[in-house]
């Protein structure tokens, strides 16, 4: 009988360094990191990728991704990524930003990078609050959701309504790939993996701007144990933010006549 060798069916991606993550126990930032690293591994992009870290809990991504990294000031990662991509078009450039970073202080940068159809990939982690600074309300906080600055729940009469970033950007002609995924179950993690890979493929093909919004937990500031946080993500967050692809392929836009 032939000897059957054991195979590794799940291992550590080479696009992550050995540094252990500093995230709180059960925080799904770590799953998103792994999915990005797996996409870079699968597409063999590690040697020519530059990541741009943002401000928030994920600020230390430059210690975790095993590629060149640059740190941007709060909200400016898409602008920094634009600069890197334009001076070095062969380089694969991605940003990794939270919702406080991308949808609050960085709203202008993300909208214009998307409108320009900048050939970069944005990984957007929506955990419905400002995690690092202590769980304040973010533009993405759900109506009625309790945060440290909305202790009675977000009152939309005072604090307005959440921003749905994928829907907002899908009004523009620039984006070539837009998707919203969630990390609440193995099935959804596999979907997220596919979407992140597709976003990088979009950039490799030179098709233009790609963004994946990843619905993620913040057990610490939600005040929920990891299991309950995943249930909240599934039952509340993913209900308010519909999952799916919002753009799949670049738009053809005809230029108007020059007169």
């Amino acid at each position: 009988m032939a000897v059957q060798h054991e195979k590794r069916v799940f291992g550590y991606p080479s696009s992550l360094t050995d540094a252990p993550f500093h995230y709180c126990p059960g925080c799904t930032h770590g799953i998103a990191h792994r999915l990005v690293a797996e996409a870079i591994d699968d597409l063999r992009l590690k040697e020519h990728t530059v990541g741009v870290a943002s401000v928030g809990c994920s600020v230390f991504t430059y210690n975790y991704f095993n590629c060149d990294m640059q740190q941007a000031s709060h909200g400016r990662a898409p602008a920094v990524a634009t600069g890197i991509k334009r001076v070095s078009p062969e380089t694969i450039v991605f940003t990794y930003q939270g919702d406080g970073d991308l949808a609050s202080i960085g709203t202008a940068e993300i909208i214009h990078a998307a409108a320009r159809g900048e050939n970069i990939t944005v990984i957007f982690i929506n955990n419905t609050n400002f995690g690092m600074t202590g769980g304040q309300m973010a533009p993405t906080t759900l109506p009625g959701q309790k945060t440290t600055t909305t202790p009675l729940g977000r009152d939309v009469k005072k604090a307005g309504y959440p921003l749905r970033v994928c829907e907002l950007l899908s009004a523009l002609d620039g984006p070539a790939y837009l998707a919203r995924v969630s990390l609440h179950s193995p099935k959804e993690v596999l979907r997220a993996k596919k979407a992140i890979r597709k976003a990088f493929e979009t950039q490799v093909a030179g098709a233009g701007f790609s963004l994946v919004e990843v619905l993620s937990t913040c057990p610490t500031n939600w005040g929920l144990p990891p299991k309950k946080a995943l249930e909240y993500l599934r039952d509340e967050v993913a209900k308010y933010y519909p999952l799916g692809e919002f753009r799949d392929g670049p738009r053809e836009v005809e230029a108007c006549s020059t007169r």
Binding site: R8, P13, F21, G26, L190, P226
Partner: protein, 68 residues
């Protein structure tokens, strides 16, 4: 064929997402602590592992490796 999960106890923070994700319920919290002060998980019923890797897929700390 046998399958096995290898836990990197130093990366594990004991969040237990793997414990309730595993369809066979084979992972448990250990009473030992790692250098960060967390109780990592260990494989309580190794013989029941099917190598489905759902635990590793959901692990936020990439602390699990699966062999089959």
């Amino acid at each position: 064929m046998l399958a096995r999960v290898v836990v990197n106890s130093e990366r594990c923070k004991g969040c237990q997402i793997c414990c309730f994700t595993c369809p066979k319920n084979i992972l448990q919290l250990s009473t030992e602590t790692n250098s960060k002060g967390y109780n990592p998980v260990y494989v309580q019923f190794p013989q029941k592992c099917t190598g489905c890797a759902l635990c590793a897929l959901m692990c936020p700390d990439v602390a699990l490796e699966v062999w089959k």
